[in-house]
Symmetry: C2
Subunit: 479 residues, 2 copies
């Protein structure tokens, strides 16, 4: 299938970009009969790193991903200025200028991985490296949005992502959600009631899997419905998917307390693991209107500052022009070290890592929900085991507070604030859900929520924190 | 001295940025009596790099900077998840989220270095890390320029830097130059003749030392005169200074052919070396109106994608807000590895490196100019030994071509093109100077030039290339 021409969606900024005139000279670079005095590149002989070694754990990570690599059981990436392993990015190249899209060896790995996972139906997809999804989202706004444009956002979303967009002077159109994320019917309604004197939105920004802050994940059916709406109303879907591989096994209440419970059984094959992943918007992208922002931040480490953008080639070309005059390309150390590791692990070893990572998050999620079951007053609190990501929410009904109409003047946010403060007093910080409301947000009812994470804390701390938070809720509600 | 309030120079984009509301919660992070369930950070136990080792050369680099580190004579940066050396950035921190301004240990080194070199007179200067000067320049444009603003640029400048600015819809005001760079009197004239109905320029963008493409460097006197004009007409000076430490010893004709000539004698002390550097605009910056873009690209390696911005604190705060929602911070591997090296070298070892680097560039520059003396037809060609940087120029007088008025219709660019093509035919590529003309450029006379570099090529290749280029010039001029 071929992609649609969507160049009418580009911003003025993106349309204005031209390649550097020096590029035309670079076609002579490296020709044996030409002495090239054109480029201001330092000689790689002068780079003061001769060799870099990195020690990493070895697949299949039987002792868990937190186990330290030991003598004889480590993957050692040995990187030199010049190539030793075919799959490595030599330091003389990664530490030099060039390769804005990314080093070829790393691009190859990421493209193979993307093909394996997403099976994208339009043939014109490609990949460009980014320095992480925050930068990729900023680049996306620069590439598509002019002042006065509007963008669709989840009604609760990641404040940094919203703040990234604000200085572009865009207008936000929040899309109503429930526990399953964006409600497609509500999205369609927005267009049915659209004021024809306003331009339609350029794009939908969604954290489709393990959403921040709600922890919700869009089902395959909802994704299909949303994709159809995007085609009908001609907007892009920007899927920001750092948590995609934190999809977990089903929650079983009490499993975390069962000493005989194993998170490894039944053992899944790689094929079973991949088949169980929810299909991405990219997987549905027949027209080439999905821009997928993918990242190693939650899967390897945030500080690598390395991600990749998946989209149709013609649109990606505009990102490359932007990167040439901004970030250039991700750090050469990062590219050599990440590819050093991925090359040694191979696609199969990387899937082993993702499976082992999922196990860790499943253990933490199960433990968290079991602790919530024990400590939350069920009369006023609801919670839903997330199927992906780092976040869980605790949803409260303000109208169930005996003094809601009096002390809190029928304002759920006032109850929320009281619980936040009581939480701090008892010694637990959860983030109030109202902090994630997108601009132009309209409340549906008297519920509010808190966002917590099980990612950053060990289990014993999680238990203590949630017990304290339960106390805070009970205190405020007088239970 | 205290800096002036220059917030009236900020762009709408920069004024619109707000910090994330989540920041207010982060003041509770790490407090012993609070279980913090607020942040979506993965645990550093899960980062798949346990240890990284890097091998680098050892000061004082007696065998030159290109010598490979050998057994017993190498600096080995051994980096772990947790700290071993006080000055190291541990991987558990550098590979995690946080520290948008840069890791404290690296910031400390860079600030000490900046204080040592520039002795900035206003007390409110500070430093923020960038991912290189291209990104820092893009961030500068975002921070100060609105569509319709104008910026002062050198009449010949780096095309990528000009292309970075174009999509901001700024108007370019080229400043006339000679062999010494910007002519302060011409800059003053621009303001004397300024159309009062137009807003004055927001900033001057200058590559003050080893300018790209002309190879010129501004003298201390010119810098002082330009700084005064900036204060009088209230614009910022953005000094893009990747070549600052490629300042060379004086050129001595024929030295490269003298087998007894030593580039090490007389040996300079560190103090003599530092005192001989041309003072930067930052050194003159009493009012806090200089934004200095500094980079490791030409001094260590371009692929580290690491630089730093020096400016007054209040302005830098706006860069930090921008970085939070775009690049976040440079790669953690880069920060740990660069600081691993700099920490081991120390400020003194780093100055040793800079001295050794200067020697390499002096050798190459001297060789280049000596070869030009031998191969260029002096009747039509001029050249000037650059005092800094990677670039040299060969200036030609088109009016000295016998067929200038006829065959070339009195257009110097047509002669330039003929020589470019003849060069390619003979087997040498030098970049035509007209490719570097800034928008709105007005020619002074019938001269034109080519830019070459001695940075990227070994000496024997340089010789072959310049001989071929000399042939090309002679052929076109019929000499």
């Amino acid at each position: 299938m071929t992609a649609k021409d969507l160049s009418h969606l580009l911003s003025i900024e993106a349309k204005t970009r031209r390649p550097s005139p020096l590029k035309t000279a670079f076609k002579y670079y490296g020709k044996p009969d030409i002495v090239f005095l054109g480029g201001g590149l330092p000689m790689s002989d002068y780079f003061p790193w001769d060799k870099v070694l990195a020690y990493s754990p070895e697949p299949p990570f039987a002792d868990g991903i937190a186990a330290k690599p030991t003598e004889g059981k480590a993957v050692i990436s040995e990187l030199h200025k010049h190539k030793i392993e075919e799959f490595d990015v030599p330091l003389a190249r990664s530490l030099q200028y060039g390769h804005t899209e990314g080093q070829p060896e790393l691009l190859k790995f990421v493209k193979e991985h993307t093909a394996l996972i997403h099976k994208i139906p339009n043939e014109e997809w490609d990949v460009v490296l980014s320095v992480g999804n925050t930068q990729a989202w900023d680049a996306t706004l620069r590439t598509f949005c002019d002042p006065g444009d509007s963008i669709l956002v989840e009604e609760y979303s990641f404040p940094s992502a919203l703040e990234t967009a604000s200085p572009f002077q865009v207008d936000y159109v929040p899309v109503p959600m429930d526990n399953g994320g964006i409600i497609p019917e509500k999205l369609e309604e927005l267009f049915e009631n659209w004021d024809a004197s306003n331009k339609k939105p350029k794009l939908l920004y969604t954290i489709a899997t393990g959403q921040n802050p709600t922890g919700s994940s869009l089902s395959a059916e909802r994704r299909e419905a949303i994709y159809k709406i995007a085609c009908k109303h001609d907007f892009l879907i920007v899927e920001d998917e750092p948590y995609y591989f934190l999809q977990m096994n089903d929650y079983k209440q009490g499993a975390s307390e069962d000493p005989k419970h194993s998170y490894d059984e039944p053992k899944q094959t790689h094929e079973e693991f991949l088949a169980a992943l929810v299909p991405s918007f990219s997987h549905l992208d027949t027209e080439g209107r999905v821009v997928r922002l993918d990242s190693f931040s939650k899967v390897l480490a945030p500080g690598v500052r390395l991600g990749w953008i998946v989209a149709q080639k013609k649109l990606l070309e505009r990102y490359v022009r932007l990167h040439e005059v901004s970030i250039q390309t991700p750090s050469g150390f990062t590219q050599s070290l990440v590819q050093g590791l991925l090359g040694r692990w191979g696609q199969s070893g990387y899937v082993d890592w993702l499976i082992a990572l999922r196990k860790e998050y499943t253990i933490k999620r199960d433990f968290t929900i079991d602790v919530l079951h024990k400590n939350m007053p069920k009369d006023v609190v609801e919670f839903f085991p997330p199927s992906a990501g780092m976040f869980f929410t605790v949803v409260l009904d303000a109208s169930k507070h005996p003094d809601f109409k009096t002390k809190f003047a029928s304002d759920p946010i006032k109850v929320e604030t009281a619980i936040y403060e009581a939480g701090l007093e008892k010694g637990c910080l959860m983030i109030p859900g109202s902090w994630f409301q997108s601009p132009n947000f309209k409340p549906h009812d008297n519920t509010f929520f808190f966002r917590g994470t099980y990612a950053a804390v060990p289990l014993d701390q999680l238990k203590v924190g949630l017990e304290r938070f339960g106390e805070a809720v009970k205190t405020v509600y007088g239970l």
